[in-house]
Symmetry: C2
Subunit: 334 residues, 2 copies
DNA sequence: CTGAAAGCGCTAACAC
DNA sequence: GTGTTAGCGCTTTCAG
């Protein structure tokens, strides 16, 4: 292994090892039959020249790629980075690699990304909303590669889906809060571009109404929630409706912000005010009070999505729809 | 735009539009000269066939890629996802795309990733440790593409670096805590594979010693810190050394865990125990008490790293070493 | 403004 | 076990 002066090719290695390019190719791919001696010579040449294979050429020739495209809405929400970890980990062991695109919760940006990533002819595609532009859907539908939609369970999936039913999850959380005797509900969150959050909110609202209760949801954020917006959202909500006894947040991060405000302002939780989140992040379970929330299985969702793609690629029969479920965490905040 | 039955090629589009492949290629790249009429026909054909360009072929032919490889240690630390956002955002506007690899803080995994990612012949490479295996360094050094090391300022960079001096940062934080009259220091964190954290710890220790104070650092974590380990780490530390009056944590997340424990256990912060973190994450500044910490410029670091690569690619003169500095946040915890 | 020929670096399929 | 030929889908170069 010494200095590389110039990009080497198979040909260089072949010449250096006094064999044909095909032999080098066979050594590289560990496929086919190469004598032990030849292999050794070739490997030595590869090392000496510092040769790194060119997969563009390889994939072009075989029409097979080891890249799997993954589009997530955001990198700053652990929900998505955890699912991504699950995907990466599973792909890794089969020699595949995740290529990540971030859509910023935008359907237009997703469309751009789909085209851009598709131009690399990935082996499979993972997307994480239910809503897609018609073009996006069309490209995905006709690409002739495995496609998985994650985090949700669409009525009409493109091909495969791995996720949970957000309506059921919202309903379960609301039902629980009702059994805990809370009555004057509020909501703080961001539903604008987060379709799953919007669905959950609708389900929460419906379930509360079914029991004869309303929910006060004043102004919603115009950006994905963080601690600060959870905090300020709760402050504004309490200004407008000081009588609330329980607040749902669109996710754990916002809920944590809310709890932080209560701790700071001396609002007793859950006696004076109950707090419910969504996701079951590690961070929400290590606060002074464990967050009451819905735990979703992000890591397993990621692994399952990747496994589905791998199975499709190897023509293994595979279930197309995976409900990964959820779990109510009866924490200490509500 | 209708159903695609089979992967289309330039040739299909050319035939459909009754022109040569070259003309289609010219339309696609907006380069060269094509008459308005021809362009219109070609675009219509592209749309009708649902053609998506094949960049493997294109990049192979031009020996140019729009992919920039980025290796970060972890996706569950906002520090790295923020820097990644900065990189992505900057690359995006120039039509480049980040391809992300996660090394899990492992030098061996990084080496694997470098080979694997290099095989796609990226336009540039971003790595985020100072420590690399000799092979990694060699491959990066000789790849003949722009390479940036981020988050640190190595003595002997591969080519370019954008980051901060962790020794100075650690020293500044320690010096501040000394001025605040804390005297019996402790340390909770994970230095094992996080080289930057290890450097900061050494700097903190040295600065305290310079003032005649020691620091008690019992057992360190064996995994990257999260709230839970920050919490349990502090608990163990206080069991062994109940007299501590100030504790440094290896990052804000661990420090937040520590603060959560104090809130829960009724330990008054900073009166009974001061807490210092590192990073200046949003989450640490929205707790019941703002964390005392060092703010680093992750987003700008990412943008700068990407810009450096873009400039190198366009042969624009560029500064190779960027000290992005840091800022002491005199919070309410110490 | 448009097209034809050659080739990017690799591999499938077949020969030897 | 190893080599030869053809070609993956695109772009470069040079004609016209």
């Amino acid at each position: 292994m010494t200095k590389i002066r110039k990009r080497r090719t198979l040909k260089d290695v072949a010449e250096a090892a006094n064999v044909s390019e095909m032999t080098v190719s066979r050594v590289l791919r560990k496929s086919g039959t190469v004598s032990a001696g030849t292999r050794k010579t070739v490997l030595a040449a590869i090392d000496r020249l510092g040769y790194v294979e060119n997969r563009m050429a390889g994939s072009l020739a075989t029409a097979r790629s080891n890249q799997v495209a993954v589009i997530i809405p955001s990198l700053s929400n652990h929900v998505f980075t955890e699912v991504l970890s699950g995907i990466s980990e599973m792909l890794d062991r089969e020699g595949y690699q995740a290529v990540v695109g971030v859509s910023d919760y935008s359907i237009a940006k997703e469309e751009e990304l789909v085209y851009s990533m598709m131009s690399w002819r990935p082996a499979g595609f993972v997307v994480s909303n239910v809503r897609h532009s018609p073009k996006t859907r069309n490209v995905l539908l006709n690409a002739d590669i495995p496609v998985v939609e994650i985090m949700n369970l669409p009525e009409d999936p493109i091909e495969m889906c791995v996720g949970l039913n957000h309506t059921e999850a919202g309903r379960a959380l609301a039902a629980y809060m009702v059994t805990k005797k809370y009555r004057r509900f509020g909501y703080v969150g961001w539903n604008e571009s987060d379709y799953a959050a919007a669905i959950r909110f609708q389900a929460i609202k419906a379930e509360l109404e079914r029991h004869g209760f309303g929910i006060f949801a004043p102004d919603l954020f115009n950006r994905p929630p963080n601690l600060a917006s959870g905090k300020s959202g709760l402050i504004r909500l309490l200004e407008q409706a000081p009588d609330r006894d329980a607040v749902f947040f669109s996710n754990d991060t916002a809920a944590t912000g809310g709890l932080m405000h209560c701790l700071q302002a001396g609002i007793s939780v859950p006696d004076r005010l109950a707090i419910a989140g969504f996701s079951g992040l590690e961070s929400g379970q290590n606060l002074p009070k464990r967050l009451t929330t819905i735990l979703t299985n992000r890591y397993e969702t990621g692994r399952r999505a990747a496994r589905n793609i791998l199975q499709q690629l190897s023509n293994t029969p595979v279930r197309l729809r995976w409900d990964m479920g959820f779990e109510l965490i009866e924490g200490e905040t509500g």
